[in-house]
């Protein structure tokens, strides 16, 4: 089906863009001032939208008009995506998250063509029934022993996980992960504290190694991933070496910095390892709720940023003169969309021939120029 520019209209791309923005067919039809039957027919490939409709849809859905003419995008199947709070999510939020995942995979494939990215070194631990032992095994395999992890995001990237930002402003959508062939992907919500984000990343790592082949779903899988994350970030031997002197919030705030975890995650782990009695744990939970620590982490750690994405973007700019706008155009998406995939993790921005620094962080001295 050709439009007047002889580009093939892809009805699936049209539907994809609608789902990405969280519109129902009815809502989009209203915005476009067309009847629902016409909107359905566009997505079914029965009618070809006029150029005016495509232009309007592009504006409403914030995609370049040519986005509707590309090849079909690979989408992670909702059945294999591990959503942490699936029951609390609306269908609209799920669609928005899955379609953002598809765009990240599209971007990752684009990067793979240009760079040799770290290969996947995640073992398959799906036969390990105990998440605590699985976390311990992975620590040994990666040479982490009992040490606190300096930067979870860097660790995942170095082990071959593609980490992208999840730009959905909803508390229900913490993070999710998915395997695309042999490539593991993790998506993290950038609106959370550093400590919560690290836990989310470890939780998703748990899904990737424990539930690669499906396995348990729902609450059981989530509890397993939580246990894995807790043990991965706070290894037993390390926590037992620093028992709290007093069961107080102040003491936990002091101790949490050893593992860069939230006060609530540390309290849970201390209780699990019997370093806090049931009574003390309950009192601490009440105190944390009163102080709002469940959502506002006290004395927050610096946010972790990507190790790899700035290197890639710098290389594309310095060697090929490709700005982010040019990359977005090559991908057939908007600059805003591209930024939403990386915004949490790349703080130095390069665009339109300018090199900007937002002043929040300096580039790590360990980032090396790509050869």
């Amino acid at each position: 089906m050709l439009n007047r520019f002889n580009k093939v209209f892809n009805p699936r791309r049209f539907a994809f863009a609608r789902r990405r923005r969280g519109y129902t067919k009815t809502a989009l039809a209203q915005k476009l001032r067309i009847d629902l039957r016409t909107a359905v027919a566009y997505e079914a490939g029965e009618y070809l939208p006029s150029e005016e409709i495509l232009e309007s849809a592009a504006l409403i859905l914030k995609f370049p008009r040519d986005f509707f003419c590309g090849e079909e995008l690979d989408e992670p199947s909702p059945e294999i995506v591990s959503f942490r709070a699936l029951t609390k999510m609306t269908a609209k939020q799920r669609e928005m998250a899955v379609t953002q995942g598809a765009l990240a995979m599209h971007f990752a494939k684009w990067l793979e063509k240009r760079f040799e990215l770290p290969g996947n070194s995640l073992p398959d631990l799906s036969r390990e029934a105990n998440p605590e032992i699985a976390a311990e095994s992975l620590r040994q395999a990666w040479g982490l022993g009992q040490l606190p992890i300096r930067n979870v995001l860097h660790l995942l990237e170095a082990q071959g996980v593609r980490v992208f930002s999840l730009a959905i402003d909803a508390r229900e959508v913490d993070a999710f992960s998915v395997w695309q062939g042999d490539v593991p992907f993790v998506f993290l919500n950038g609106n959370k504290s550093s400590e919560h984000s690290r836990f989310d990343a470890a939780h998703e790592l748990g899904h990737l190694v424990l539930h690669k082949h499906g396995g348990p779903r729902g609450r059981k899988a989530e509890l397993e991933a939580n246990s894995f994350a807790s043990a991965f970030l706070m290894p037993r031997g390390s926590v037992l070496a620093y028992p709290p002197r007093f069961p107080t919030i102040q003491e936990l705030c002091r101790l949490k910095k050893v593992w860069t975890v939230s006060v609530s995650a540390l309290a849970y782990r201390l209780h699990e390892l019997r370093l806090l009695s049931d009574w003390h744990y309950r009192r601490l939970c009440i105190e944390m709720s009163k102080r709002g620590f469940r959502h506002n982490e006290p004395d927050e750690a610096p946010r972790e940023t990507s190790l790899i994405l700035p290197q890639l973007l710098n290389s594309l700019y310095q060697d090929d003169g490709m700005t982010r706008s040019a990359i977005a155009a090559d991908l057939g998406i908007s600059l805003h969309e591209l930024e939403s995939l990386v915004f949490s993790f790349v703080l130095t921005t390069i665009d339109e021939g300018r090199h900007e620094d937002n002043g929040l962080v300096t580039t790590s001295p360990l980032l090396r120029r790509i050869k």
């Binding site: 240009r114 040479g143 009992q146 040490l147 300096r150 660790l155 170095a158 620093y242 190790l307």
Partner: protein, 225 residues
């Protein structure tokens, strides 16, 4: 002491020379990695000196396991842990070196961190071809160590840069306290990151980023042709 004139820093030369000794750079570095992994499993609940012992012991064990297919054997003449080649004419042990270990820009050669015992002293002196009247009553031990050329896999953990620097070197002299300080040949093996993402952190360190580089990860990414 001045620097040894026989310093081998270039990769091609290192690989060539190690091949002559029936060794490989990667195997020696892998052995050190095993030591580093053992160190990572230590917590403050372990005795404070255990970390260094675990590092040393697991590096020796790692070298023995990795070199066994090439005919190397683990022996303990008079309690000193050695790796000896199939011909029995070359042996090495593992030792911790000072901050000059594996460094090319240092003005002085490395010292071993700790003074050595009588067996190592014998071996070092046998390497140098000296005779030691004071040791002649222990004729058996002296003759034993004259059978093989003695080398040391020297490793130094640099907390600031977060790496373990390594070299494979042939000792020929020591100071009065028994620290080896002079080498007839030094093969620079390079460095490995220790802990690969983990780092030592104590409650009293407080928040924020740690000043030391330990646990920082470096990923080198190449463009596709």
């Amino acid at each position: 002491m001045s620097k040894t004139s026989n310093l081998r820093p270039e990769a091609w030369d290192v690989n060539k020379r190690l091949a002559e000794l029936a060794l490989k750079r990667e195997i020696l570095l892998d052995a050190v990695r095993r030591g580093s992994d053992a160190l990572a499993n230590c917590t403050p609940n372990h005795p404070i000196s255990y970390g260094g012992s675990a590092f040393w012991a697991e590096t020796i064990c790692g070298a023995a396991e990795l070199l066994a297919p090439s005919g190397w054997r683990r022996i303990d003449p008079s309690g000193q842990p050695l790796l000896i080649n199939a011909k029995g004419n070359l042996a090495f042990t593992v030792s911790t070196g000072d901050e000059n270990t594996g460094k090319l820009d240092s003005l002085v050669d490395p010292y071993t961190k700790y003074p050595k015992g009588p067996i190592t002293i014998n071996e070092v002196k046998a390497n140098s071809g000296w005779l030691f009247p004071e040791l002649e009553e222990d004729e058996r031990a002296r003759l034993e160590c004259l059978k093989y050329d003695f080398w040391i896999l020297l490793a130094h953990r640099d907390d600031v840069s977060g790496v373990v620097r390594c070299e494979f070197s042939r000792p020929v002299d020591m100071d009065k306290q028994g620290h080896i300080r002079d080498w007839s040949e030094r093969i620079i093996l390079g460095e490995i990151p220790f802990h690969k993402g983990g780092y030592e952190r104590k409650p009293e360190d407080g928040g924020g980023d740690a000043p030391q580089k330990s646990g920082e990860i470096i990923v080198q990414i190449k463009r596709r042709a």
